[in-house]
Amino acid sequence: MEISMTVNGMHKTVSIADENTPLLWVVRDTLGLKGTKFGCGKAACGACTLHVDGEAVRSCSYPVKFAEGKDVTTIEGLGDRENPHPVQQAWIDEVVPQCGYCQPGFMMATAALLNKVSKPTDEDIDNNIINVCRCGTYYRMRKAIHKAAELHSKKEIYESKEL
């Protein structure tokens, strides 16, 4: 069967034998976007987090059939070297990653949080950012999330002035 969706702003149609194939498989193996990672395969660790219609989902546990007609954003679509997303910039500024494997999932979860709560408190972070990092970079991530919120609000102010 064929599944059509928008991935990082580009229309994609994929042929798939099993409609219950996890979206993560399709993103990584069919579309070649390797930034989203496989961690536990049980929707527990959050390494596979990406956005579907702006909402954070665990793509290892999200059948591709549910992505039909939807807007999927992966870490590659969040920003790039020239125009990093505030979350990516904050992650660089605070030198967050150690091994780095889980970080795309954390950044996607954080980006989703900032879209809902522009200035998250520590409690908001504890409630919403529940991914797992084996290196234990949580302290630096917390700092980066607060910094990303600042960058995010400045960017919104700048963009509104541009308009």
Partner: protein, 200 residues
């Protein structure tokens, strides 16, 4: 010479013990929650056998924390009710749970996956108290008897209890002790006969 302080300590100890004993609630005040008791009404009993099973009770918590598994442990990752019964702003039920069970990951799913409203908390209540709350329109979402029958016999999330899928280890989740057909019949009969809550 040394016996006087000893006597003072002894007397104070006795008074202390009596004070603690007098102020300790008697355990008999807290009888066991009657989750397995049987009444004279078979339909009521069958219905309650289901409502008090983990498949139902895990999502009717009294502490705003969803429960998981047959031992009803708190939901992993610190998930909680949130403001709309769907978890938190960016990490909510649908971050992991979709509209159907996921047989690859073992994550359960059904349409409108969410906690029951706080007003419908059943955890820790007796069967009688659960039934009273179920029928109380100020607590049950303003549902009439007819609405309740429809909800309990047709709602996909309620009926998920009989198709709970496998867990993260590939093990089949346990089913309520009454079949879906028997439950539906019991609910319909109980309401048709006036939804009377047995006194015993």
């Amino acid at each position: 010479m040394k016996s006087k302080p000893f006597c003072v300590v002894l007397v104070l100890s006795v008074f202390g013990y009596l004070f603690v004993w007098a102020n300790t609630p008697k355990i008999s005040k807290y009888g066991p929650v009657e989750l397995t008791s049987k009444s004279s009404n078979q339909d009521y009993d069958k219905m309650m056998d289901v409502l008090t099973h983990q498949r139902c009770m895990n999502c009717h918590p009294s502490d705003d924390i969803p429960k998981q598994g047959d031992e009803s442990h708190p939901h992993y990752f610190g998930m909680a009710r949130g403001e709309d019964d769907h978890g938190f702003e960016a990490t909510n039920c649908n971050t992991c749970h979709q509209s159907e069970n996921n047989l690859n990951s073992g994550v359960p799913g059904a349409p409108h996956w969410a906690l029951a409203p706080a007003s419908m908390a059943w955890e820790g209540l007796t069967r009688k108290e659960i039934a009273e709350r179920l029928l109380d329109m100020t607590m049950n979402g303003n549902r009439s008897h007819e609405d309740l029958v429809k909800h309990m016999t047709e709602d996909d999330l309620v009926l998920w209890a009989w198709e709970p899928g496998i867990d993260a280890n590939g093990k089949q989740r346990s089913l309520p002790p009454v079949s879906k057909e028997e439950f539906k019949e019991a609910v319909e009969n109980w309401f048709a006969n006036g939804a009377i809550i047995p006194s015993k």
